[in-house]
């Protein structure tokens, strides 16, 4: 069961939170991620935040893709 989407935490009230993804808001529980703060992105699965997304790592991954792309461009001059 893997459908989990990145959602932004908009407000927190105890273990209840409101999250937003692409303009859609939903209630979520942060029982599994009590360290989540307003403004964090979490992975939302069946109404629960199962992890806080590491934004730095996300940027790193994109950087890796960029580097790969540039290397490919250099190596194949078509």
């Amino acid at each position: 069961m893997c459908l989990a989407i990145p959602a932004k935490v908009k407000s927190i009230d105890g273990v209840d939170a409101e999250v937003e993804v692409g303009g859609v808001r939903r209630k979520a529980s942060i029982m599994l991620t009590p360290e989540a703060r307003v403004g964090d992105y979490v992975l939302l699965h069946t109404g629960y935040a199962i992890n806080v997304i590491d934004e730095e790592e996300a940027q790193e991954t994109l950087k890796i893709f960029q580097e790969i792309a540039e290397a490919e461009d250099r190596d194949s001059p078509n």
């Binding site: 029982m31 599994l32 992890n51 991954t61 790969i68």
Partner: protein, 364 residues
């Protein structure tokens, strides 16, 4: 959508594909274990984009597909009891069990409701104090902690008409069982992304260590999967299998400790009954004695009858990646999403459904 769209960039994708095509020289048989990956690969047509050295196989990563008929029969027996409201994820409702399905029970008057979350099931329990609300707990380590959380909430809020039928399963033990069976030769595994968000990367270490198979934990967007394949190819080409995390924004090596704690507070490990594979020791979860008041198995009389497997259905072989959907005599002709014979076709994540829906192997 942030953290989604960036990982669907076609230009970057083309470059990743080019890199994989250059570097892959040795045959690489890769298995994606998670149903979410099966769907993503089919939906974005990833198989087509990879070089012929790479073969992608689908494993038993669809929790709906691997739910044994005997277990689903229990859910159906419960659904027929008076005063019971069954709450379930949408995925389960059409799966054919031995003699019926939850959808059929619903059509015959049973109170079966699709929910998106156990939070919804708890609300239904609070709103219907005279009924027993049973949640059908299906899913791997991604979902089990959320169900555990719901049991803890029920305890906190004194919701005493909420029950869980635990059909939860664990991933690493079944991967081991599959590898031990020797039925499939693998060079690499695309490890589940969100199961790993919970369990971390350490539980997979036995795979490269004891079997010499490469492991990379992958996200679900096309670029994530391509990056994972690229990293697997690297390990295979260099002959140095290990466990790596490609999905770094979602998975930490130690996983989500709190989620694991909650999961093991409510559940304990037991044997799991996997469709097509049989009983795999230590691969299931059941409610601990301390939470037995929420356990549907202990609180209701379940008369499920003898389990029956559909004739001609080779879902078991497909789940073990011994056969592909196209090898099944029933595929498409008899078994299709409208008239599914086995769970691999009816589950939105099942291999057969993905093959049918997205035309994998079409024209071949």
């Amino acid at each position: 959508m942030k953290f989604i769209n960036e990982y669907r960039d076609a230009e970057l994708g083309k470059k990743l594909i080019a890199r994989i095509q250059q570097r892959s020289t040795k045959p690489a048989r890769l298995m994606e274990f998670c149903g979410g990956h099966t769907v993503s690969i089919a939906k974005h047509g990833i198989r087509q984009l990879l070089p012929p050295t790479i073969t992608m196989l689908s494993g038993p990563g669809c929790p709906v597909c691997v739910t044994a008929s005997a277990d689903l029969d229990k859910a159906i027996a419960l659904a027929k009891l008076p005063g019971v409201i069954i709450t379930t994820f949408g995925d389960m409702i059409k799966v054919p069990a031995s003699r019926s399905s939850l959808q059929q029970v619903k059509a015959e008057g049973g109170d079966v409701r699709i929910v998106y979350s156990t939070l919804d099931a708890l609300k239904i329990a609070q709103g219907n104090p005279s009924k027993s609300v049973i949640f059908i707990g299906v899913g791997f380590e991604t979902t089990a902690p959320t169900v555990a959380a719901s049991v803890l909430q029920a305890a906190q809020q004194a919701i005493d008409n909420y029950y869980v039928l635990s059909l939860h399963k664990l991933c690493p033990p079944v991967v081991k069982a599959l590898l031990d069976s020797g039925e499939v030769k693998l060079d690499g595994i695309v490890c589940p992304g969100h199961v790993s968000a919970i369990i971390g990367s350490h539980p997979y270490e036995f795979i490269p260590r004891d079997y010499g198979i490469a492991c990379v934990i992958s996200g679900f967007e096309p670029l994530d999967i391509l990056q994972c394949v690229d990293m697997l190819v690297d390990q295979i080409e260099s002959g140095q299998p290990k466990v790596e995390i490609a999905y770094r924004r979602g998975v930490k090596p130690e996983g989500n400790k709190i989620a694991l704690e909650l999961m093991y507070k409510v559940f304990e490990v037991c044997d799991g009954n996997w469709r097509g594979i049989g009983v795999v020791p230590g691969s299931g979860l059941r409610l601990r004695k301390g939470y037995q008041r929420y356990d549907a198995e202990r609180n209701f009389e379940i008369r499920a009858g003898e389990p029956v497997e559909p004739k001609g259905c080779i879902c078991g072989d497909v789940l073990r990646a011994v056969k592909m959907p196209l090898d099944c005599k029933l595929f498409r002709k008899v078994c299709n999403p409208e008239h599914p014979v086995g769970p691999c076709m009816v589950s939105s994540e099942g291999s057969c459904a993905a093959y049918y829906q997205y035309g994998e192997g079409y024209g071949r």
